[in-house]
Amino acid sequence: MERIPILSVSGFLLVSIQVDMHDRLALTLQDDLTEQIVARGPRGVLIDISALEMVDSFIGRMLSNIANMAKLLDAETVVVGMQPSVAITLVELGMPMRGIRTALDLEKGLAVLRSIAHSENQNDPHGEEDDAGSVL
């Protein structure tokens, strides 16, 4: 059964979506990630969508769901690498993409996650000091 691989790197979970996912595969990814977050207790989750040439409402909802679930389990999620044409289309589509942080690439995504962790350590639970990344 095909699955999208989830990597564990320095206490973060990293998923790189390289295929045109059908809905069942997307749901499997959602389940697998939840399982991994519970199992490993990562500090954060990075989802790399730089290879995705299309994000529709289903995939958008999947990303939101993952972010919300991760949050419940005390991990932040950052979606990285959204292509400009995908972004323009999502805006036109009217997809709200709530609760998802985004960054231009993996490096910046990691920086966002680290600075959130850092400000949480400094008793700033809402991360108000942190301006890194965009929260939608």
């Binding site: 059908h22 040439e53 529709d56 409402s57 036109e92 589509l93 009217g94 997809m95």
Partner: protein
């Protein structure tokens, strides 16, 4: 309006939704759509194909090149013999959900297209057609 090349597909599984998406991408590229317009119509196709599968109980899609005078475009038609939609206006509202959520499907597909047509009634199935003209 003349119809040039056309292809049709059965939509019976989530893999079929991907097949339709990829076919639409191919046709859009062949017609010379720019990247953003390609992404828009592929995304609209994904939404409508999913609706056909999840709400229509499966159906078919037709992808056709259309021409009128000097303009060329891509026309997609999605047909199912499912339960049909009782209140189309309500179904077109964003966020409207019925058994699992048509959500942004119809409204989104309309926003991403230049032309949108829907024909549906309880017991009569559903037919949705969209057109994206090149360069508009």
């Amino acid at each position: 309006m003349q119809v040039a090349s056309s292809e049709s597909f059965e939509i019976q599984s989530s893999e079929d939704v991907v097949i339709v998406r990829q076919a639409v991408r191919r046709h859009a590229v062949a017609l010379g759509f720019n990247l953003v317009d390609q992404t828009k119509i592929v995304t609209a196709a994904s939404e409508l194909a999913r609706n056909t599968l999840l709400h229509g109980g499966g159906g078919s899609a037709a992808v056709e090149t259309v021409r009128t005078g000097v303009a060329a475009g891509l026309k997609l038609t999605f047909v199912d013999e499912g339960p049909g939609i009782a209140d189309i206006d309500l179904a077109m509202k964003d966020g409207y959900t019925s058994k699992g959520g048509m959500g942004l499907g119809l409204g989104g597909a309309k926003r991403l297209s230049n032309e949108f047509e829907i024909d549906s009634a309880p017991g009569k199935g559903t037919r949705v057609a969209i057109i994206r003209w090149k360069g508009l």
